[in-house]
């Protein structure tokens, strides 16, 4: 019997299994995946599976946290109190989602400090979409509709991901995110049906966010280096291109109802495929942003680092207080 402490603090980590027949463990793992069972934290798992999950969950968590910034940029300028409340609640949810995801990552034996450190030093990524600036109020709507829409398309299948804690975190996230996309759509609808200036603001935002949203699904299948293994492990359930197509098919009629156009002259219904065809994606832009040359890469990371550094004395104070007082100041109530 062992405690729930992260792997690194435990006596019997994966190493303990080595003598006991790696093959038997691998077989049990493969059988569980094949039977669509969930892998749970203390189960044996291949090192590469663990590493893939840590990378993906961390990147996902970082995206939620960095993703607070472009929207928080408009909290203090929201044009009505109703919109302000919605936006604050949404940005708060993103912090919450980051926390759920860090918590899922911790079940794999990596501490949050370690993950944040990797984010701050640029060794782990976050979604490139958040390296674009929010220039007008309509961008808040475009992020809700398109960016959250793309995220939800990606995330819904993750609720069935083979790793239990990740799947459970995603169930919670998806449940809470359902309002995010709607508020964005509603915001854009109000602008589109509003004054001429408001309509133009909405169209401009959609023009700027459409292509970056399509890039959120990642490189095309034939160029995606992690996809095949992730699909085999049932971490991923659909390919990048499949999800991208699904997203385009959903968005086209929604754009029509909004009274806004999508900035792609090649976008048209293909009767034969039963899908919308769309124009080529500029992957050079994607790779530039990924390399750190997007409009806001530096700004986002700087702000994150600054918040963390400026908060250090607060975290230290609370830790020092806890050490001084032990549990004697606790409420002393027992669970019942």
């Amino acid at each position: 019997m062992t405690t729930l402490l992260p792997e690194k603090d435990r006596g019997g980590g994966p190493g303990a299994h080595e003598e006991a027949g790696q093959e038997a463990y691998q077989e049990a793992f493969d059988a569980a995946i094949a039977a669509d069972e969930r892998i749970e934290p203390r189960d044996w798992m291949p090192d590469a599976y663990r590493a893939t999950l840590v990378r993906q969950i961390a990147q996902h968590a970082h995206s939620e946290i960095i993703g607070m910034q472009p929207e928080a940029n408009w909290i203090t300028r929201a044009p009505s109190l109703r919109r302000k409340a919605i936006l604050m609640a949404k940005v708060q949810d993103e912090a919450g989602h980051g926390l759920y995801l860090y918590s899922a990552a911790e079940t794999l034996g990596v501490g949050r400090d370690e993950l944040l450190d990797k984010l701050h030093s640029g060794r782990q990524k976050y979604s490139s979409i958040f390296n674009y600036p929010t220039l007008t109020w309509a961008d808040v709507g475009a992020i809700g509709w398109l960016v959250d829409g793309a995220a939800i398309t990606n995330q819904v299948p993750l609720c069935r991901c083979s790793y239990g804690p990740y799947a459970r975190a995603m169930v919670r996230v998806c449940k809470e995110e359902s309002f995010h996309q709607r508020q964005g759509y509603e915001l854009l609808l109000a602008l589109s049906r509003g004054t001429e200036a408001q309509h133009a603001m909405a169209q401009d935002a959609v023009d700027r966010w459409w292509w970056p949203s399509l890039m959120m699904f990642g490189p095309p299948d034939d160029a995606s280096k992690h996809s095949a293994q992730s699909m085999a492990w049932k971490i991923k359930r659909h390919s990048n291109d499949e999800l991208r197509q699904r997203f385009v098919d959903i968005c086209v009629p929604q754009a029509e109802s909004l009274g806004l156009t999508l900035p792609d002259p090649l976008l048209r219904w293909n009767e034969e495929r039963g899908h919308y065809d769309f124009g080529p994606i500029d992957w050079s832009e994607f790779h530039e942003v990924l390399r750190g040359n997007g409009p806001c890469n530096e700004q986002r990371l700087d702000r994150r680092r600054r918040a963390h550094e400026q908060g250090a004395w607060v975290r230290e104070a609370a830790a020092a207080y806890a050490r001084k007082h032990g549990e004697q100041d606790g409420d002393g109530r027992t669970a019942a």
Partner: protein, 240 residues
């Protein structure tokens, strides 16, 4: 009897302005758990502000189209966030006051049913805000040397804005002197537990006593309003 306008505006502006200041923390909190906590408090306050302002008119017109001199919030809530200690000191001073005031209003200190109902709902929210501020005051005061001195500086710096809290608000039938006494007693208890001392300076400068309630504010407030109102004012008559 409808809610006394001066009273609902004063209370509504307090909540609106403090909520705005707390909203500025989004993405900047010292730890992720605190992002969620501060946003919860900001959302509670924004909800209170919307209810209160709606009792006096259209919430957005009141929030976005009044000039600085027409706002009647106390100066304490408009003070910039500063470091986390300043925000906590502001929270401690204000939420302790707001809880005591709303307790009295919930007991019918207004003679107005709408306001009584708001106070009864808000007092539970505010009790949690006060609890949050107290827990952090203890941890910063009795944490490290650095946190202790930051907390002391923050409490001292904001002390001069606390006298205004107890200036009578027209339309609220409250024993303001008694409120002040109880507030001072509670603040003293918390600060002593936190190994801090109650600041000694004057609680309101002679030229500014009660100034916020009369529409006289501090310089940072104008910039805060400029940011808050600019988009709304740039599109006259638009709906959002």
């Amino acid at each position: 009897m409808s809610a006394p306008r001066t009273a609902v505006l004063a209370l509504g502006d307090d909540a609106l302005v403090l909520s705005h200041r707390l909203g500025e923390w989004a993405g900047n909190a010292p730890v992720l758990e605190e992002e969620v906590a501060l946003a919860n408090i900001a959302l509670d306050l924004l909800g209170q502000a919307r209810t209160l302002l709606s009792m006096a008119g259209d919430e957005d017109e009141l929030a976005y189209l009044r000039e600085e001199r027409a706002f009647t919030n106390v100066q304490l809530v408009e003070q910039p966030n500063g470091d986390f200690a300043h925000t906590i000191a502001r929270q401690l001073y204000f939420s302790t006051y707001q809880e005591l005031l709303y307790e009295r209003l919930a007991d019918g200190g207004t003679g107005d049913t709408e306001l009584t109902a708001l106070a009864a709902k808000a007092v539970k929210e505010v009790a949690y805000h006060r609890d949050h501020a107290e827990h952090w005051t203890l941890r910063l005061g009795d944490g490290t040397e650095v946190s202790h001195s930051r907390m002391r500086d923050a409490l001292d710096g904001l002390w001069r804005y606390t006298g205004e809290l107890f200036r009578p608000v027209e339309g609220l039938d409250v024993d303001w002197a008694g409120l002040d006494e109880e507030w001072a007693r509670r603040i003293t208890t918390v600060l002593e537990r936190a190994t801090l001392t109650v600041p000694g300076g004057p609680r309101s400068s002679p030229w500014a006593a009660g100034a916020g309630r009369q529409g006289v504010h501090t310089e940072p407030f104008g910039r805060m309003l400029a940011e808050m109102q600019h988009l709304h004012r740039s599109h006259p008559g638009a709906s959002w």
